[in-house]
């Protein structure tokens, strides 16, 4: 029995309140028909007896108290899934917008997903060679990891993401079982176009699923975009056994959409006005990366977020860092000096790195070398701050050596071309070459055996 509920009780931001509704279930999707013939979709977010609160994805513009008819669909928000989805362009709510017609679903899945049982997870240990020295050597990306890029407006995070997609060599992935799910949330049209063009140029476009919620698209739809994207990714990885790389940009816009929704619902705000459940909400996205026992496929996430005012303690990067397995932090001053990719090495980290590198994966000296590079570069920063006070001339000879090492490290190791694909061996050897400019006694994180083998000073 389908009942149309005529009119609404209350409109507040993107929320409408309808009274007298029977048989509704929590999180159910409703169809809203306006009397001008257009339809919208909404989701039940709160129930109080027969009074329900509905979040309208396309916004409430033009809705009045009397001009709508609402119908319950009887199911929660679902994404249509089929192998044909690869290569398609979808809107922020997972509906095709490339003019190629509807997706005929093999399967429909609730976009909220269900948590992976920790017992069923496979601990990720397969190294992904990105061909970027800083990432491969110092914050290695692992298959099944979630490793965000912390950036700021105007920095080259998009180029970096594109370069990673183009160069990534995943163990076990071939032409046929590798694909990219790209979710754009609140990005400008030309940024989305840049990604599309880059994917096309590097020949991966036929392996990409794009979900586009542009900056002028409805904000509430934005809260669905990553969920649809990850539902697609999980389907590709765990039903079709593919290796999926998920790029989500920009998580900051997503969190802001969530804040807007929360405040219109009248919820008690937490830090900086973001809802108290921001952590759980972000976790419900990021935790959908990984690998599962008995399945070939994997979901690797690279979320991109622009830190407001480059502030890493802002709630969005802060909470993200607590959930993800490390982060790649970009630095404005490095970019200002013309270095690309402007990866700020010290605050960057990959938590899964230690078990995916070394003997049998990359090379036995990888971890000690990385430790030593971190430690030595941290000394460079100390030396620089001292030089800023007393002048470079007054530095002790050893500090001067560090200054030189720092310079070399940035121009040769951090800096590399947008098209330059460095093999891991090449990156590691370069690391040793740079360390060899320092006196051997300064290298206290490496044991003598390795020094004998690699130290050339």
């Amino acid at each position: 029995m389908l009942i149309d509920y005529v009119g609404v009780k209350e409109i507040n931001g993107s929320l409408i309140v309808i009274d007298g509704v029977k048989g509704v279930s929590n999180e159910e999707i409703v169809d809203i028909r306006l009397d001008n013939g257009t339809t919208r979709q909404g989701r039940v977010v709160q129930i109080e007896g027969e009074r329900i609160v509905v979040q309208v994805f396309e916004g409430t513009r033009n809705i009045s108290l009397v001009n709508t008819k609402t119908r319950l669909t009887g199911h929660p928000m679902e994404q249509s899934l089929s192998p044909e989805i690869i290569g398609r362009v979808l809107d922020g709510a997972g509906r095709p917008i490339d003019g190629l017609g509807e997706i005929f679903p093999d399967k429909k899945a609730n976009i909220n997903g269900t948590p992976i049982n920790p017992v069923s997870r496979v601990y990720p240990t397969n190294f992904i060679n990105t061909g970027i020295s800083t990432i491969d050597t110092l914050m290695t990306l692992i298959r099944g990891q979630k490793l965000p890029i912390f950036s700021g407006s105007g920095m080259k995070h998009n180029d970096l993401a594109v370069q990673i997609v183009r160069q990534a060599r995943i163990t076990g992935a071939t032409e046929d079982n590798f694909c990219v799910v790209f979710a754009a949330m609140g990005v400008q049209k030309d940024v989305a176009e840049y990604f599309r063009k880059s994917f096309e140029d590097s020949g991966v476009l036929s392996h990409v699923v794009m979900l586009l919620n542009l900056s002028n698209d409805p904000i509430i739809e934005r809260t669905l975009t990553p969920r649809c994207a990850l539902t697609i990714a999980e389907y590709l990885a765990f039903d079709l056994d593919m290796h999926v790389l998920v790029i989500m940009t920009d998580m900051t816009s997503y969190a802001e959409a969530l804040r807007e929704f929360s405040s219109s619902k009248g919820e008690i705000p937490g830090r900086k006005g973001y809802p108290g459940y921001l952590y759980s909400d972000l976790a419900s996205l990021y935790e959908r990366a990984g690998m599962i026992k008995g399945h070939e496929g994997s979901v690797t996430q690279i979320p991109i977020l622009t830190m407001p005012n480059d502030d890493i303690t802002h709630p969005i990067p802060d909470l993200t860092g607590y959930i993800t397995e490390g982060q790649i932090t970009l630095d404005r001053s490095l970019q200002g000096q013309g270095y690309y990719p402007p990866v700020s090495v010290l605050p960057s980290l990959s938590r899964l790195m230690k078990d995916g590198i070394g003997e049998g994966f990359t090379r036995a000296d990888h971890q000690p070398l990385a430790n030593q590079l971190f430690a030595s570069y941290a000394r460079v920063i100390d030396a620089r701050s001292l030089a800023a006070v007393i002048g470079e001339e007054e530095l002790s000879p050893i500090d001067k050596k560090y200054m030189e090492f720092g310079k070399q490290f940035e121009t040769r190791f951090v800096n590399q071309g947008f098209d330059e694909d460095r093999d891991i061996t090449e990156s590691l050897d370069l690391g040793w070459e740079l360390l060899s400019t320092l006196p051997r006694s300064e290298l206290d994180r490496v044991d003598d055996e390795l020094l004998d083998k690699y130290y050339k000073g």
């Binding site: 948590p115 049982n117 496979v122 601990y123 099944g144 108290g276 759980s280 701050s385």
Partner: protein
């Protein structure tokens, strides 16, 4: 009676209209799928319930049924070597039933009821038993004997005893008659409400340290068995790493590891690592003495709130058997956030940063369940709590860190700058503290001689002095310092890199026995004392450094195996010899 139905739904919080006969904190089943929930508010108009599972698809009008009991956990053999979610559902069994994703309403018993245990009875007919008394034992794993105890609130006369043999979880093995003549059957398991601490005879003083094999902890900021410690630190500073190290190496009998709102991949790492890791004391996999509680960040938030209590209740149960238990809670901030989230849904008046005003009292309730005690059966046992705190924006002035500080006596502050330089464990020696010195120093004096405490005091004084000198160095460089101060800086560098920093992936350095820790301090201080002689002779310090002794000591943690303490004597001789050479 059974006409309680759902009225309102808001996230994980649902309401039932009208007066009900539910009790506060009673466990209920919600909806057709029997989701687990708990009563958190009762008025004559509404009853409020928090649901421990996803509420998508629940409808008004769906039934709510009470169980009559508060949130319970089942206590019995089979807890060890197992992994549970926040409300003690076994994740391995759920996997077998549902596959890789966790569905709702899983009705799986917490413990395996089909497995037969080899039970030895410890009572006979006619015995008078009281609460907490051990009535039977069984080998739960190869290293841990499980002791079945009379439920704490029960006592009476044994009227029936089964012979020794194989029994299943719910088999009755003993019957007792209480003072009112009612008969009670004792099986291999019992229930206990998670929010109530289990009774004890009395608290004992915390006079024995929990040895962790981590130098910065054992030497500088030790924790007592039965103590509570907090590890605060921003992301990437190594909270989880430190927790893992402690879980692997600390000398507790039983480890309860609560992954509260943390990463799924991390939990699978713990599972992998612990089952491969062999406990040096017993030659058995670490999992034989470990229970894991995994409520990852994407699992329902209300169960995250409960997971901490589930963990501590399991810990207390093993404490009552007379074991030393350590519980790692990673992270208590996620738990506090779960409190905040639920409090927000209830539209309670927020206090600081949106956290509910009862945050401090909840934290206190949790940390107060740590302690070294005399159990009801007259044994000694302890629960030590090590709670990680994830301060927002790495700012230690936020409410969870500040309140935790009030209820723990050990504070291991993790430092971003140290972590950036990959100095692990990144415990900052200036901000951290331990208040257990007075309690456990007598133990150190007895076991290792009085030197241990003396060395520690001197090492810590050197670090303090270095910190002061570094202020100057940061402004004008180290060249202008007089040689005796340069010596302090050089020595402190050896302490920092050679002693405080510890490599968790090195076979010897991952766990260092107390004796080696003491010898390392001894050698470092020896070098410092002898170097002072050199400086006093106005011999330039560069000549001293050229001897290579400082570098050698920095690497002694790797060069001297844990089982070769005699090698330290050679180091002392070498120091004397080389320094004598430049002196005379």
């Amino acid at each position: 009676m059974n006409n309680n139905v759902i009225f309102g739904i808001n996230g994980p919080v649902i309401t039932v209209k009208g007066p009900t006969d539910f009790k506060m904190m009673e466990m209920v089943h919600v909806g057709r799928e029997n989701l687990v929930g708990e009563i958190i508010g009762v008025t004559d108009e509404y009853t409020t319930i928090q649901v421990y599972e996803e509420t998508t698809g629940l409808r008004p009008g769906d039934p709510v049924t009470g169980t009559g009991n508060p949130m319970n956990v089942l206590l019995g053999p089979g807890i060890l070597d197992n992994i549970f979610d926040g409300i003690e559902r076994p994740l391995k069994a759920i996997e077998e039933e549902n596959g890789a994703f966790i569905n709702r309403g899983s009705q799986v018993n917490a413990l395996d009821e089909t497995k037969e245990w080899d039970v030895t009875l410890k009572v006979k007919e006619g015995d008078i038993v009281k609460g907490g008394q051990i009535y039977a034992t069984l080998p739960e794993t190869q290293i841990i004997e499980h002791r079945l105890m009379v439920p704490p609130l029960l006592s009476g006369e044994v009227v029936e005893v089964k012979p020794d043999g194989e029994y299943k979880l719910f088999d009755t093995i003993v019957k007792i008659k209480d003072e009112y003549g009612t008969e009670h059957s004792l099986t291999l398991c019992q229930q206990w409400p998670i929010r109530t601490s289990r009774p004890i005879t009395q608290r004992l003083s915390t006079s024995v340290p929990l040895i962790t094999g981590q130098r910065v902890i054992d030497t500088m900021f030790p924790i007592a068995k039965g103590g509570a410690a907090a590890i605060p630190g921003g992301f990437g500073t190594g909270k989880t790493m430190t927790q893992h190290q402690l879980a692997k190496w600390c000398d507790a009998d039983i480890i309860v590891y609560v992954g509260c709102g943390e990463r799924g991949n991390e939990m699978s790492q713990v599972l992998d690592e612990f089952s491969q890791l062999i406990d040096p004391k017993s030659d058995r996999p670490m999992t034989d003495r470990t229970v894991l509680i995994a409520n990852t960040s994407n699992m329902p938030v209300a169960a995250r709130e409960a997971s901490i209590y589930t963990g501590i209740t399991l810990a207390e149960y093993y404490r009552d058997m007379g074991y030393d238990v350590a519980i790692m809670a990673d992270s208590t901030s996620r738990w506090a956030e779960a409190l905040r989230e639920i409090s927000g849904r209830l539209e309670e008046m927020p206090a600081e940063e949106g956290f509910p005003a009862y945050l401090p009292s909840r934290l206190a309730e949790f940390y107060e369940r740590a302690g070294r005690v005399e159990t009801l059966s007259g044994d000694n046992g302890s629960v030590s709590i090590i709670g990680a705190v994830s301060p927002q924006g790495s700012d230690f002035s936020e409410p969870v860190t500040q309140n935790t500080k009030r209820f723990t006596r050990c504070f291991w502050a993790l430092d971003k700058a140290l972590a950036y330089a990959r100095h692990y464990p990144a415990i900052n020696w200036m901000n951290s503290y331990s208040e257990y010195f007075n309690d456990i120093d007598p133990w150190f004096n007895e076991q290792l001689g009085e030197e241990f405490v003396e060395y520690r005091t001197r090492i810590s004084a050197l670090l303090q002095e270095e910190n002061k000198l570094m202020e100057i160095v940061k402004l004008i460089g180290s060249d202008v310092l007089p040689d005796d101060q340069k010596l302090v800086i050089e020595t402190a560098k050896v302490i920092r890199v050679g002693f405080l920093q510890q490599n968790a992936f090195h076979k010897d350095d991952t766990f260092v026995p107390l004796e080696k820790q003491m010898n390392m301090m001894k050698v470092i201080l020896k070098l410092y004392d002898r170097s002072k002689d050199v400086v006093a002779q106005e011999i330039p310090i560069s000549k001293l450094i050229a001897l290579g002794l400082f570098d050698k000591l920095t690497k002694m943690k790797y060069d001297i195996p844990n089982d070769k303490p005699e090698m330290f004597d050679a180091y002392i001789e070498e120091i004397d010899k080389k320094i004598d050479e430049i002196l005379y």
